[in-house]
Amino acid sequence: MKSYLPSSILAVTIAALTALPSTPSQANERRFAYSYETTTMPKGSLEFEPWFTYKHYDDKDRFEFRYELEYGVTDNFQLGAYLSDWRITDLDDGDTEAEWRTAGMEAIYSLSDPNKDWLGSALYGEVLIGPEKFALEGKLLLQKNFGPLALVYNAIVEAEWEGSNYDEKVGVWENTFGVSYQLNPKFTVGVEALHEVEFADWSEAGDHVFYAGPNLSYRTKGFYATVAGLVQASDVDGEPEAQVRLLMGFTF
């Protein structure tokens, strides 16, 4: 397996974050790039959230882009619109493919609070639709905060119909874990892990894929950015060997 760490992307991101101005307040932030937290946006908040994910495969590199609008309907319920998911793939043979994938909606309902209650919890639902993909996704989000330390776990089940006739059925079972420590109100650092297994035709389990790596989050008034870099700890062909995700949020 070819070893590849996109250190230049991480370095540029960290440099950009540390150069941002310092103010005493924060946006509604995400401390994790691959896990959701159980807290939802304040009622009436609107946030624009661009995503950027880089994936390095054995035979190609892929750049995925997502643009999302999130709105706090109540203090416990938020809705999100995925305006556009698209990706660019650089193949080793020199070809480049650009592909628009899906648009969709998500909803998160917070059931309990990770600071006040014994365990924070929330339910997440998502629908994505595109010319060659229709997907339904449900998540159970769990979180506990111990002062500056936050622990999260997401259990994820996804049903996908892919292909021009939506006739390729795939089920996905995922687990994500995250630990994050707040250094000060602006910076958090932590680690994230991801486990995924696909079920072809919703029946045949594929290989179990594991990823783990560090994350860093910065926030200031009306803005946050979170970056995480994960390396595959398993050795499954056809899955990314490493990936980096950058999330940003602009709150209105």
Partner: protein, 75 residues
């Protein structure tokens, strides 16, 4: 959590109790709650208006959390 956001004294007015609830829930939507006494009264005077705007607190919640914080820090 009691070390970060101490409970108001027994018999304290309801707005102080409600203010603590706002502090550990709505304020913590954006970041882990900071110890109230980490900041001085003067610093809170600067921090609080931004926090209230950020979390879009209504007037009742804003007044409650402000009273709660002010009850724990010396002028």
């Amino acid at each position: 959590m009691n070390q970060i956001a101490p409970w108001p004294l027994a018999g304290a007015a309801q707005p102080l109790i409600h203010g603590r609830l706002i502090y550990v829930t709505k304020c913590a939507k954006c970041h882990a709650p900071e110890p109230v006494t980490k900041y001085s009264y003067a610093q809170w005077q600067v921090i609080m208006p931004d926090m209230i705007e950020e979390t879009k607190l209504n007037a009742t919640d804003a007044a409650a959390v402000t009273s709660y914080v002010q009850s724990l820090v010396t002028r």
